[in-house]
């Protein structure tokens, strides 16, 4: 069964450093989502791609966060500089074009010290 791949699974970084997360969606899925999940809360959408285009990045802190999906397949989420409040689980999900079901990856647990 196809799955969404994410790496790394865990990342510890010092504040003010740069950090990047990678996501490879299920093959053929046009829509890719990045979520942030703070401990004890539900996931919150950061950015959504349709192929290589951003559909929604209204909740992405653009002063420090950036996301790209250059060829419309895999995607990278970057934080620079990282802050203590960025400690969270970063989840990637994908779905078929105009499909309603999102498939989630295992996530990247980020700890900023």
């Amino acid at each position: 069964e196809a799955e969404v791949a994410q790496s790394p699974r865990y990342k510890i970084t010092e504040k003010s450093q740069a950090v990047a997360f990678w996501c490879d969606p299920i093959s053929g899925h046009a829509t890719l989502y990045w979520y942030r999940q703070i401990l004890g809360q539900g996931p919150e959408l950061l950015v959504q791609f349709q192929d290589e285009s951003v559909v929604d990045d209204s909740q992405l802190p653009k002063d420090r966060f950036s996301a790209e999906r250059l060829k419309g397949v895999d995607s990278t989420l970057k934080i620079q500089p990282a802050e203590l409040g960025d400690s969270a689980m970063y989840l990637c999900a994908s779905s078929r074009d105009r499909d309603y079901e999102q498939y989630f990856g295992p996530g990247t647990r980020l700890t900023v010290t």
Binding site: P43, E101, Q102, P106, G107, R109
Partner: protein
């Protein structure tokens, strides 16, 4: 704006007992509703979804949920809980975007503990 409320932060049940997790939503149109489960340190797995039609939907692992428009609720149920059901459960409402895809708004989750 759409929103989801899960009023129970923690629930403890005995193995074999029945389970009901509450979910209330706020959405202007016909909602698309979902229940996801998350095991510790893992991503989310879809349990079931409601788009239209029969208001009682069946999902994986023996779960079901009932959509009640008059109460703006979509409660998750299971007749007999297994120890492996211990996890965090998230209710979500979806908003289909004209540009493609489906924007999910999640509740804060209910942590389920199962006593043996």
């Amino acid at each position: 704006a759409q929103s989801v409320t899960q009023p129970d932060i923690h629930i403890t049940v005995s193995e074999g007992a029945s389970l009901e997790l509450r979910c209330n939503y706020s959405y202007g149109a016909t909602p698309y509703l979902f229940w996801y489960v998350q095991s510790p340190g893992q991503g989310l797995q879809l349990l079931l979804k409601y788009f239209s039609g029969d208001t009682l939907v069946q999902g994986i692992k023996g779960f079901e949920a009932e959509f009640k428009r008059s109460q703006s609720s979509f409660n998750l149920r299971k007749p007999s809980v297994h120890w492996s059901d211990a996890a965090e459960y998230f209710c979500a409402v979806g908003n289909i975007l004209t540009g493609g895809g489906n924007k999910l708004t999640f509740g804060t989750g209910t942590q389920l503990k199962v006593e043996l």
